[in-house]
């Protein structure tokens, strides 16, 4: 079976600073990958490269077997146009740390914005699907609420519904619970757990090691722009081979 995501030697620099120094990775369908690592290790940068919010400087990425950002013709790689990149982004859904809901739109309007404007679905059909998705994240009763009227946890669940509305093959989560009050973390993780059970392929950057232990099919530890080690949750969280991993995990758990 072809991997959903394949990364070979992905590099990204900001000026002279190398944020990613060569990431190699394969993710298979229905895998839930948890990315952990200290602040500044490049976790967000990697997610942003996957959905082309950043353009990689070296290496290559494939999503569903499709080369990301370029089209190959013969022996040349041609950069895609901005619209083609927008089209490619439809394969991935992104959930941000700070939710980034559209504040001037209600929960339902947030969810149907992509389907109606980008996928050009009819409003009625989009709304029906949108309501189902909001129901799925437990917010059927908040369809007409504006983001400011929702708690952080509710906003993040709307954001998840909004990403799902585009029917992505791969969902990316960048620390989806770290902007939340502790008592709201559970409801978002519960939605993500359900999503994982339903077979969604997910890459989750998180400091919630409990979630990683329970839901992840694989945990990767990143540091200084590289993947230091990866393996099953038990292996990485209980008996990491690298000293840096061990330090990081004990620091997070303490």
């Amino acid at each position: 079976m072809n991997p959903i995501l394949k990364a070979i030697d992905v590099r990204k620099s900001y000026g002279t600073f190398e944020a990613l120094k060569g990431i190699d990775l394969e993710i298979n369908r229905s895998e839930v990958l948890c990315l952990i690592g200290p602040s500044g290790s490049g976790k967000s940068t990697f997610l942003r490269c996957i959905n082309q919010l950043e353009i990689i400087d070296g290496g290559a990425l494939w999503i569903n077997g499709q080369l990301v950002g370029y089209r190959r013709v013969g022996h040349k790689l041609y950069e895609l146009s901005e619209r083609e990149i927008a089209r490619q982004r439809l394969a991935t859904g992104m959930v941000f740390q700070r939710f980034n809901l559209f504040p001037n739109k209600t929960a339902l309007q947030n969810v149907i914005e992509g389907p109606t404007q980008v996928l050009k679905l009819g409003r009625r059909q989009a709304e029906a699907t949108g309501r189902e998705l909001l129901d799925r994240v437990g917010l059927a009763h908040k369809c007409n609420a504006y983001p400011i009227e929702l708690s952080g946890g509710q906003q993040q669940r709307v954001a998840i519904a909004r990403a799902l509305a585009m029917n992505p093959t791969l969902m990316l989560f960048d620390e989806p619970t770290s902007a939340l009050d502790p008592e709201l973390v559970g409801e978002v993780l519960a939605v993500m757990r359900d999503l994982a059970r339903s077979g969604m392929t997910m890459v989750v950057v998180t400091h919630e090691l409990g979630f990683a232990r329970e839901v992840a099919s694989r945990v990767l530890f990143m540091d200084h722009g590289l993947i230091v080690e990866g393996g099953s949750p038990e292996q990485i969280l209980n008996s990491p081979t690298h000293a840096r991993t061990r330090e990081f995990i004990s620091a997070v758990l303490s």
Partner: protein, 294 residues
């Protein structure tokens, strides 16, 4: 020294707190300054009103001309010119603001040059230049396809519309650029993440949010525009100022007719201000209490 005073004050304060004060009479602060100020303002206002009432102004003439046909047509022309020039200015402003964010350096420079040029030349001069365009371009059009004599096309109205609109566009583009900058980067990213391309994101997500920041200054500029239309009187466009002038050249009732014009400017602008707050409320949807109050 100071410390000692503080300590004593604190002691007095403490004593007051522990004593039962409920039986004492409450004496409100007297704002004597306010009364004096109000009296002074009233006196000045009264003096000004009396001066106008007893001055050499025939108020009955002003009253008669308020609804004169020529004046009303002038008011209509003023409103028409102001609205069209403003719409034109906004259309240019949005385009130029977006050009300023372009990755293409030439487009960016063109936008910068436009703003620099048209902000740098007085509006009155621009109007005159457009009106006299025929001196530079005797004909306009696409050669071979269609062609007009510039003097036929460049009527006072067209010259005023171009002059005011293009000038306004330069200012408006800066206002809109400020609005676009004010929207959080996360909104651009969220728009991208649901597959929108740049222009789509700008139009659907960013601009509507930027409107909250853009509208107050645009309302301000719209009001300015209503008054700038009076410049069109110098190229013989019959807006309200020109209409008043034409009448007072004939009957020498200068101040009376100036008051007629002043009245109509005030009336139009008051209506505009009311409209502005309604539109602002519309774009404040979901924006939180501070922005929504009133």
């Amino acid at each position: 020294m100071l410390l000692e005073v503080d300590r004593q004050l604190a002691k007095v304060d403490h004593a007051a707190h522990t004593e039962d004060l409920s039986h004492l009479e409450h004496v409100r602060r007297r704002h004597i300054g306010r009364y004096i100020g109000a009296a002074a303002i009233l006196a000045i206002a009264l003096w000004i009103i009396l001066a106008f009432a007893h001055g050499q102004v025939e108020w009955s003439v002003t009253g008669r001309y308020l609804t004169a046909r020529a004046i009303l047509i002038g008011v209509g022309n003023t409103v028409l010119l102001a609205v069209l020039a403003m719409l034109f200015g906004i259309a240019i402003g949005v385009t130029v603001a977006i050009m300023r964010f372009s990755a293409n350096p030439i487009i960016k420079w063109a936008a910068l040059a436009y703003v620099g040029l048209f902000r740098g030349i007085p509006s009155l001069l621009q109007l005159l230049l457009w009106y006299n365009l025929a001196l530079v371009f005797p004909t306009i059009g696409i050669p071979g396809l269609f062609e007009w004599r510039t003097v036929d096309v460049m009527t006072p109205f067209v010259a005023a519309l171009l002059g005011l609109g293009i000038n306004q566009g330069a200012y408006t583009s800066e206002v809109i650029r400020a609005g676009l900058i004010s929207v959080d980067d996360g909104q651009y990213e969220a728009a991208s993440a649901i597959g929108m391309h740049r222009l789509q994101g700008l139009r659907r997500i960013i601009l509507p949010q930027a409107m909250r920041v853009i509208l107050p200054p645009i309302g301000n500029e719209f009001i300015g525009m209503v008054k700038w239309t009076s410049l069109a009187s110098v190229i013989q466009f019959s807006e309200v100022m020109h209409a008043s002038e034409t009448i007072y050249y004939a009957n020498s009732r200068v101040i009376e007719l100036l008051f007629v014009a002043a009245f109509w400017y005030l009336a139009v602008i008051t209506v505009l201000s009311l409209l502005q707050s309604r539109v602002e409320r519309y774009f404040a949807r979901g924006a939180g209490r501070a922005a929504q109050s009133r």
